[in-house]
């Protein structure tokens, strides 16, 4: 996941199935049959660790969440896999990074984090 995309991606929301750029990393869902395991997708070298395999109650098929470059998405589709492109993962990451604290709000220990639970 260290490489950065060469160009901005065009992927948008789930289901839009946009054209993908070979070098950009996308957040995707790959459809799997009900009894398949991730081993069957090993050749594609997807990055799916700590990500869920959802089960669609209606079709009983599974959908594996993963990151993949556009070239891998093309290969998955060529192999007959249904792939849903959810977002340009790099652009999404940059957007979320802007929300992270860049300072020390606790001033080296002079202050602490706000309570989360309610005292009772």
């Amino acid at each position: 996941m260290a490489r950065k995309p060469r160009s901005a991606a065009t992927a948008t929301a789930a289901g839009a199935d946009p054209a993908v750029d070979n070098e950009t990393i996308y957040r995707i869902r790959v459809e799997m049959s009900p009894h398949e395991t991730v081993r069957n997708l090993g050749e594609f070298r997807l990055d799916y660790c700590c990500m869920p395999q959802e089960r669609d109650e209606r079709s009983s098929k599974k959908r594996l969440h993963a990151y993949a470059r556009g070239a891998v998405i093309a290969a998955l589709r060529k192999a007959g896999r249904k792939v849903e492109v959810l977002a340009d993962a790099i652009a999404e990451g940059r957007r979320m990074q802007k929300l992270i604290s860049k300072t020390d709000r606790f001033e080296g220990g002079k202050r602490g984090p706000e309570a989360i639970g309610k005292l009772i």
Partner: protein, 464 residues
């Protein structure tokens, strides 16, 4: 507050706790600095007279991109410290804990919280490549930036050498990888990484640990042992330490099952259920408690290493291992489409929901620490001495629960060969009481393994 804490803020929060609640907690400096030269700290919580009681260890910030982990651990510590010091209980949505519950945590056990195991990776994920998972060790990269980093949660000494221990049909990237460009690269050796050595150091130092929990995201699960294969409780000789089963693990339903006694399985299942129930009760979001292999088989993972220690090193206390995979791919209470769940916790609304959901799970975990029976810890294990490889200094934990430097001891470090023989001898002793043909076969297999290692070692010693 609203957004993810920087690594500096995580450290500052621990300083704040130590100075604000000096009788209830103190920081513990970890002996191994990270590759980028960061010093890590854990927080020891509990009254001094709780030092001899059972202990629990909670870690977060292992996978860099799983952003909320350190914040959950820090906020959990802040909440229970504040509640205990004011004599209150705590409420999170539909889940509440009484003042007596909180009192138990500080007076009847020790809790060690290590919020950010991988600060190098977390910093890189916050400021450079958001999707970064591993640490920042370049040792195996050959100067290729795509090959930097080791997956800390594949670097523990539990079936680390997956090509030796697992069925080749199970070899894939989620199990572990020898390829540095893959997200699950397991490093050049077990415990090659300062981050795993720090966690192991805490496990060695707190010899009364009975529960361990590693925070990850985002499959909505509470995972318990084992993670290498399905659990079975009928054949004690069929276990990870038995070389007769090398090359057979990791393919579900293929005949191999990792031994877990029926009593241990019932106990660990009940503890996982209590963690799950506490999180579910907050707002009805349903987590699933299941053996870790239910996600996918893994090699070198923390939860299995934690539980395996008492088997390979007799005399150590039994420590059940857990992994919370917090959050979900979608959240019914939030707008659609969701943001990347690894990173979505930077959104103040999701951050708030996440902390409210997961902190009760950690408190429930603590409340299980003194509810499980543990064998007495041998007195020699309470005085284990550890070396900081960077400085050569030796440390032990005193009866006051604090770290003390000690004079140097003779070199206790063994060669890889000697360690491998030592591991097999321990495994042999662990199954010494197994009766019948299964026990005999397993012991013979271990003895043959020792002979084989000794033979290979002798060949290397031959003078040409």
């Amino acid at each position: 507050m609203g957004t993810i804490m920087s690594t500096a803020e995580v450290e500052s929060a621990l300083v704040f706790f130590e100075t604000t609640y000096p009788t209830l907690c103190h920081r513990v400096e970890l002996p191994n600095k990270t590759i980028e030269n960061r010093t890590c700290y854990a927080l020891h919580m509990g009254l001094p007279n709780a030092a001899g009681h059972p202990a629990g260890l909670i870690i977060g910030g292992v996978h860099a991109r799983e952003w909320a982990g350190p914040d959950i651990v820090v906020s959990f510590a802040g909440d229970i410290l504040k509640a205990y010091s004011s004599g209150n209980g705590l409420q999170y949505g539909g889940k509440s804990f009484s003042a007596i519950d909180i009192k138990q945590i500080f007076e009847q056990m020790t809790i060690v919280a290590f919020p950010c195991v991988n600060p190098d990776g977390v910093e890189f994920s916050h400021n450079s490549v958001a999707l970064w998972r591993k640490n920042r060790n370049p040792a195996a990269s050959g100067s290729d930036p795509d090959k930097v980093g080791v997956d800390i949660n594949r670097n523990y000494d539990f079936l680390w050498d997956f090509k030796k221990y697992f069925n080749s049909a199970a070899w894939n990237d989620s199990l572990a990888s020898e390829d540095p460009s893959v997200e699950t690269f397991h490093g050049l050796a077990p415990f090659s990484e300062p981050e795993t050595r720090n966690v192991s150091w805490l496990m060695d130092t707190y010899s009364n640990l009975v529960l361990f929990l590693d925070l990850h995201s985002y499959t909505g699960d509470v995972l318990y042992n084992w993670g290498d294969d399905d659990n079975q409780n009928t054949d004690q000789a069929m276990n990870f330490a038995n070389p007769a089963y090398d090359g057979k693990r990791g393919v579900i339903g293929s005949g191999y099952g990792e031994y877990l006694s029926a009593a241990d399985e019932a106990a660990t299942n009940a503890i996982a259920a209590s963690i799950r129930d506490a999180m579910d009760a907050v707002r009805g979001r349903v987590y699933v408690a299941k053996p870790a292999v239910g996600l996918y088989p893994t090699a070198g993972a923390s939860d299995d290493y934690a539980f395996s220690r008492h088997i390979v090193r007799p005399g150590m206390s039994k420590m059940f291992g857990y992994t919370i995979e917090f959050n979900f791919s979608t959240d019914g209470n939030l707008a659609n489409p969701p943001t990347d769940p690894f990173l979505a916790t930077a959104d103040p609304a999701i951050y708030d929901l996440t902390l409210h959901d997961v902190i009760p799970g950690l408190i429930a975990f603590c409340l299980q620490v003194n509810r499980i029976s543990i064998p007495p810890v041998p007195s020699d294990a309470a005085n284990v001495v550890h070396m900081n490889p960077a400085t050569g200094e030796f440390w032990r934990i005193g009866s006051d629960g604090k770290i003390h430097k000690t004079p140097p001891l003779p070199d206790r470090y063994r060669t890889t060969l000697a360690n491998e023989i030592w591991r097999l001898i321990n495994a042999y002793e662990a199954i010494g009481a197994v009766s019948g043909q299964a026990g005999q076969i397993a012991r013979q297999g271990l003895l043959r393994g020792i002979q084989e290692i000794a033979r290979v070692g002798a060949e290397h010693e031959t003078v040409e």
